[in-house]
């Protein structure tokens, strides 16, 4: 009887006391798998090569995404302009740069290689509205504890934007805490030696994009003013240890596209134990015109786009405080460098050589050539999980 210990489940816990209820994982099975086309198509008012992503649904037990290849993708406007897209590694990219302009009607048409034709409904560009500011502040949340709350602000005096979707891309500087000038290399079957370390393995930059659906609406507010927490980072998260940057992307939605994403989010996170939400198929604004019974998932949206990047240092927000714990635990491990039998400390020369070769540990210090003290490779070499390329937008 595995019970989920989460705050949300307090009632369930309560019931489990009285009523011995229980929640356990349920093995998924898919004896009938239905294949459907998945369309991710957001055209914006940014002048660029616009992208449309086509993929297929996968069986529950399967991992990975199968792209839909060999399709013909076109976007048309009401003035007869046709924008053709060409396939590039599963993503369909417009042949020429273009941008969506207000008061034009756009439609998306997809013809797959097996001859199915899909069409979107008519869409127009949403209200253009720029992000005013992105502001990090230190807050203490009753559930998550203390951390940095990154809020996005904007204002639409015309009060027509109303529905907002956000994506973000965060980039943060990583400094390997146990970087040493020298590194341990295997020099022979039972010999090791120290060599100068590569200085480019000390500082790295990781970039991660958001993958959840972040939505907000101002319909219940007095004016169309957004002050929305787009990202919360705990003060125990290593990503804000040094310098952190976030690029917040704002897509102004219309009611339909907002509802589509909201529904998608809601039914995937439905965790009401006692009365779950009715799940089902979410209809977007695309349909298969060649076979009306064919399922298609996705939304062709024409959104006004705006983005803003900010930087901050840990010391700006938490002056004088110790850094959050590193990416991984950097406790040193002792290796007695010998081979064969030894008492009381056993020989670990072979283990050391294996781990250095497999690049899972790095050198911290040694005592003579009989004891080596090592840490996980991430502690001394940040390139083991990140990249030492300085992003082009990075400023210090």
């Amino acid at each position: 009887m595995k019970t989920i210990y989460k705050n949300k489940y307090a009632l369930l816990l309560l019931l489990s006391l009285f009523l011995s209820s229980c929640t356990e994982t349920y093995v998924l099975q898919s004896d009938t798998y239905e294949e459907a086309l998945v369309v991710e198509a957001t055209i914006t008012n940014e002048l660029k090569k616009q992208e449309v992503k086509l993929s297929k649904t996968a069986k529950l037990e399967d991992d990975g995404v199968v792209n839909e290849t060999g399709a013909t993708v076109t976007v048309k406007d009401d003035q007869g302009t046709v924008f053709n897209f060409k396939e590039d590694n599963g993503i369909y990219v417009s042949e020429a740069d273009f941008q969506a302009v207000p008061n034009r009607i756009y439609t998306l048409e997809i013809k797959t290689k097996d001859g199915k034709v899909y069409q979107s409904s008519n869409e127009t560009l949403t209200t253009e509205n720029q992000i005013e500011s992105v502001i990090p502040t230190v807050v203490t949340d009753s559930k998550e504890g203390r951390g940095v709350q990154i809020r996005v602000n904007n204002y639409d005096p015309s009060n027509t934007s109303k529905y907002y979707r956000y994506e973000y891309e965060e980039t943060y500087k990583i400094i390997a805490p146990v970087y040493r000038q020298e590194k341990l290399v295997v020099t022979g079957p039972q010999t090791v030696g120290l060599e100068p370390n590569d200085p480019n393995t000390r500082v790295c930059y990781s970039t991660k994009a958001s993958n959840d659906i972040i939505l907000t609406t101002t319909t219940n507010l007095q004016e169309d003013r957004v002050n929305f927490p787009v990202r919360f980072i705990s003060d125990q998260n290593y990503i804000i240890s040094h310098r952190y940057s976030i690029l917040v992307k704002q897509y102004v939605q219309n009611l339909e596209s907002y509802t589509f994403r909201k529904t998608m989010k809601e039914i995937s996170s439905s965790a009401s134990v006692l009365s779950p939400k009715q799940p089902g198929f979410i209809n977007g604004n695309l349909k298969c015109v060649s076979n009306t019974g064919e399922k298609v998932i996705g939304f062709f949206e024409v959104s006004s786009f705006s983005s803003k990047r900010i930087f901050f240092n840990y010391s700006d927000l938490f002056p004088g405080e110790t850094l959050p714990p590193y990416y991984t635990d950097c406790t040193e491990e002792e290796f007695k460098f010998c081979f064969g039998f030894s008492m009381p400390t056993p020989c670990r020369g072979n283990v050391l050589i294996d781990r250095v070769n497999s690049h899972t540990i790095t050198y911290k210090y040694n005592i003579e050539s009989s004891f080596y003290y090592m840490v996980p490779v991430e502690c001394g070499d940040c390139t083991s999980f990140s990249s030492n390329q300085i992003p082009s937008f990075w400023t210090n």
């Binding site: 307090a10 009523l19 998924l28 898919s30 998608m264 995937s268 779950p276 009715q278 198929f281």
Partner: protein, 927 residues
């Protein structure tokens, strides 16, 4: 009874020498003397002393003129008592007179064995087996529900070898004194019956011994007479007309009634008998018991609401003393909100619904409360593991007016507070309810009843939000009798249901959210027993609804959250009805009813008009119109025929058929699979059409072994229109234009229900099996309004096979063992059938709605009931119930749901509510 037997035994054993002196010769002369003076003469002239009840002989006006010369006392008494019903016994110089029966020297050999009553009766020809009171003791096994004094017919004579005797008499109306013709008399357990002639005379051939004569007529109160027949005799009976003809179709008595009434698909719950059903957490629960009968289901444990014959949860009219109870359950459906100690009866109409009920499609749960004890203070209570219960009644004016009060509360909150766990400590879960009933029998023609009820629930799911909901209802009923045939009732009821979520966080946007529905109804009902064949019922009702569909008020003055108040809804629902209970012949009874309901959606409101032929959404609004207060926005209405017929194939075998149409103007909005307390009721308006349903049903009813077993087989087919459903993931709360989230479709349900009931004997209970389907179709020309391609699909509560057995075995009068077994097909579920990647995260692709099913539901409960001793004088009569719920420990899934976890993987979870056997012990007491 036992005391009399004991006295007889003592008498017999200490007077073994009886009649030994009866050889003494006496010489006495009587001249025109009656029996009283004759006995006095004997007493004064001899040493004999007589013992008797003077009332036995005062009425005897026979004059005696006789000369006895050297006669024995036996000879004298035989002569004197020849023309009376008196017997005698001479014990030395004592003469004991007895009425009807003789005193026997010996008990028959089988006296102390438990020979079945039939055997005893069949041995009537054997004069070695005289008739004893013991047979009357066994009468309780005949389930004589009516109080019946024992009547002795004729004089016991040891020499009579006749098997049958003639009982004659006249049946008269007690009030008018007029003889009643065509009254049916039947001898229970024997194939003997007759009817009175035009002068009210009857004649029955009865076997010697105990006979239970039932006197029945539709328009009169049923009377049962227990007669002990020694010889031919006369029995005149006075009968009364049924005092309250209005309730005629409502009251369901045990026994013959199931085959006799015209109503099919009626479940009556015997609230007293319910105490033997095993309990969940020690709570006696009327509604849980209801779900063990065919055709009444719930989506699962812990889901509020009922599904009757494939209908949705909102299609049940749940009435407590005529007022609508909006949420009949506590604690998310684990307990019923109806106090079982104050309830008198529960009738559930799932098939034909009498024309005086209306407003819901599927069923009527008509629950009435007891009256307080009109004679003395009395009450009962129960102490259970989660709740305690106390109810008492007391007279205000003896035998005229009384009140009844009942209250119930949980101590779960207290338990939670004592826990160490921080989360649980801050959690809350509690409920209470109370009921107060007043009744006053003002005079012969007027009766007043009033009820007040309140229930309150409170729970918190997370530490920062508290959910509360409450029911409040009030009802007043005035019964008035114009004449014996013409009666009326005036009813006023008011019900309010509200819920509230107090969301209190550190965030400045903490808020208070609430919902409220209030309805008031005035109803006037008449009943007119026109003649033998026709019984008319008619009436008028009007109901005003007021709904506050939701408000959200920030609790922090600095909040940026705008206070939201969704515009109130108001409507008036009215109906007139007329019904004729028409007895075409002894065998064929029809009930012709029609109801016309009329509904008006009223302002003040702003109504959106949508472009015709397009799906309703914000973009298709073409204009918004303002309607002033009480201005009619939209009207709906229509006839609702209610037809039912019963035909007797044989006296204990009948067939019933019915056709019913029902209309419903109020809908429950719930985006969840099951009903929850935060679901809101929505009135029909310009954009939401009322629901309607038509049902045909056919049933066969048979009683076996003289009503020991009741069998019924019922089938139904139901179509419904404008059933409410929702777009996937609909936003129903705080939505100004909730119609844009709604879908209205068609429903289809059919099923066959089989029930065997045994109400008497050591083993009693019922076994039911149902095969039924419940389907919905949501079709539209627009994809966003279509579910499962516009084809019929199984509803959330479609559970084709349903078997339940509730059995109770009485070991002794004090100990009984009961079991409760349930089997149901698992309910349908929308299953994830695939995944897809969108915006870098994995999402679930769901199957067609309700294409799969969760595993079957199987549960066995057992209970032991121990009654306190049966001493008459003690402080309180007690009753222990020890139950184990889910003895098999089966992990019945209540729900299966799917979550995309933060790493983007789809995970399935299964929730069970009672996954291990749950024991409970409850102490009940009566004072």
């Amino acid at each position: 009874m036992k005391k009399i037997i004991l006295a007889l035994i003592i008498l017999l054993s200490f007077n073994f020498s009886f009649a030994q002196d009866s050889n003494e010769k006496l010489t006495i002369t009587f001249k025109d003397q009656n029996l009283v003076t004759a006995i006095k003469t004997i007493e004064s002239s001899t040493s004999y002393k007589f013992y008797f009840d003077p009332t036995w002989i005062e009425s005897n006006k026979i004059l005696i003129s006789e000369n006895f010369n050297n006669a024995t006392i036996d000879e004298i008494l035989n002569k004197l008592l020849a023309k009376t019903d008196l017997n005698y016994v001479v014990l030395k110089n004592k003469v004991i007179l007895t009425l009807n029966n003789t005193i026997h020297e010996k008990l028959p050999g089988n006296f102390f064995t438990d020979a079945p009553p039939e055997t005893v009766n069949d041995q009537n020809d054997d004069s070695e087996n005289p008739i004893f009171y013991k047979q009357l003791d066994t009468l309780s096994n005949y389930s004589v529900t009516k109080k019946s004094a024992v009547v002795f017919i004729g004089k016991e004579n040891k020499d009579i070898t006749k098997k049958n005797f003639t009982l004659t008499g006249t049946i008269k109306n007690e009030e008018t004194g007029k003889p009643e013709p065509n009254i049916f008399l039947k001898v229970k357990n024997k194939n003997i019956s007759t009817s009175t002639d035009l002068d009210g005379h009857y004649s029955l051939q009865l076997p010697r011994g105990v006979n239970v004569v039932e006197i029945k007529s539709l328009s009169h109160k049923e009377i049962t007479k227990t007669v002990i027949v020694y010889d031919n005799g006369n029995l005149d009976i006075d009968i009364n007309e049924k005092s309250n003809q209005l309730d005629e179709v409502v009251i369901k008595k045990k026994g013959q009634k199931t085959t006799e009434t015209v109503i099919s698909g009626l479940v009556s719950i015997d609230i007293e008998g319910m105490k033997n059903v095993p309990l969940i957490l020690g709570e006696r629960d009327i509604l849980k018991v209801a779900t063990t009968f065919p055709g009444i289901k719930t989506t699962g444990e812990g889901s509020a609401g009922f599904n009757v014959r494939g209908g949705k949860e909102d299609q049940n009219l749940i009435l407590l003393d005529n007022a609508v109870l909006y949420n009949p359950q506590h604690f998310l459906g684990f307990f019923s909100a109806i106090n079982p100690y104050t309830a008198k009866k529960a009738d559930i109409y799932k098939g034909s619904i009498p024309a005086d009920f209306g407003g819901r499609l599927s069923s009527v749960f008509d629950i009435t409360t007891k009256n307080g004890n009109p004679e003395k203070f009395s009450g009962e209570g129960a102490i259970g593991p989660v709740t305690s219960n106390l109810s008492f009644g007391l007279p205000i004016q003896k035998n005229k007016s009384s009140i009844l009060f009942g209250a119930r509360a949980t101590y779960s909150d207290w338990i939670l507070k004592t826990l160490d766990d921080e989360n649980l400590k801050n959690s809350q879960a509690g409920f209470y309810d109370g009921i107060l009933k007043y009744n006053n029998a003002i005079n012969k023609n007027n009766n007043l009843e009033a009820t007040l009820y309140y229930s309150h629930d409170r729970f918190s799911v997370s530490s920062d939000s508290i959910y509360k909901y409450s029911n409040r209802l009030a009802s007043v009923k005035w019964d008035h009798t114009f004449s014996k045939r013409h009666k009326s009732a005036l009813l006023f009821t008011n019900s309010e249901y509200k819920f509230n979520i107090d969301y209190d966080t550190d965030d400045i946007n903490s808020f208070d959210f609430g919902y409220k529905i209030n309805e008031s109804q005035l109803q006037l009902k008449f009943n007119y027993a026109f003649n033998e064949k026709h019984n008319f019922s008619y009436g008028i009702a009007s109901k005003l609804y007021n709904i506050s569909p939701g408000y959200q008020h920030p609790t922090n003055p600095n909040a940026t959250l705008v206070p939201t108040d969704i515009a109130k809804e108001k409507a008036l629902e009215s109906a007139v009805y007329f019904g004729d209970n028409y007895k075409l012949s002894e065998k064929l009874l029809v009930d012709l009813g029609v109801r016309y309901s009329f509904y008006a959606s009223l302002g003040e409101s702003d109504v959106n008009f949508y472009q015709e032929g397009l799906p309703l959404n914000d973009a298709t609004v073409i204009r918004t119109e303002h309607y002033g207060n009480n201005e009619v926005v939209k009207t709906y209405g229509g006839f609702e025929p209610r037809l039912a017929a019963r035909y007797f194939f044989a006296e204990d075998f009948s067939i019933k058929a019915s056709y019913d149409m029902t209309r419903q103007y109020i809908h429950l909005l719930s985006s969840n699979v099951t009903q929850s307390p935060t679901d809101t009721w929505k009135l029909s308006d310009a954009n939401v059409k009322p629901q309607s349903a038509q049902q045909v049903s056919l049933g066969l009813y048979k009683n076996l072994k003289d009503e020991e077993y009741e069998l019924s087989l019922e089938g139904y087919y139901k179509r419904s229109k404008n059933i409410l459903d929702y777009k996937v993931g609909a936003q129903l709360l705080l939505n100004e234009n909730v119609e844009t989230e709604l879908l209205q479709g068609e429903g289809k349900a059919y099923g066959i229900e089989f029930l065997v009931k045994k109400q008497v004997g050591k083993l009693n209970g019922w076994i039911g099996y149902t095969y039924s389907r419940s389907l919905i179709k949501l079709d539209s020309q627009f994809n966003e309004e279509k579910v499962n391609g516009g084809k019929y699909f199984a509803s959330n509560f479609d559970k084709p096979h349903d078997f339940s057995a509730v059995l109770n075995y009485k070991f002794t009068k004090r100990y009984s063992f009961s079991t409760n077994f349930l089997y149901q097909t698992g309910r349908p579920i929308t299953f994830p059938i695939g995944t897809y990647n969108y915006g870098g995260a994995e999402y679930t692709l769901y199957s067609d709605r309700n294409k799969y099913r969760i595993p079957d539901y199987i549960r066995l409960d057992i209970g032991i009931n121990i009654e306190g001793n049966h001493k008459i004088k003690k402080l309180a009569h007690s009753f222990w119930n020890i139950s184990v719920f889910n003895v098999l420990g089966r992990n019945n899934p209540y729900s299966i749901y799917f979550v995309t976890d933060p790493s983007g993987k789809v995970k399935g979870y299964k929730t069970s509510i009672f996954s291990i056997p749950v024991p409970s012990i409850t102490y009940n007491f009566k004072f």
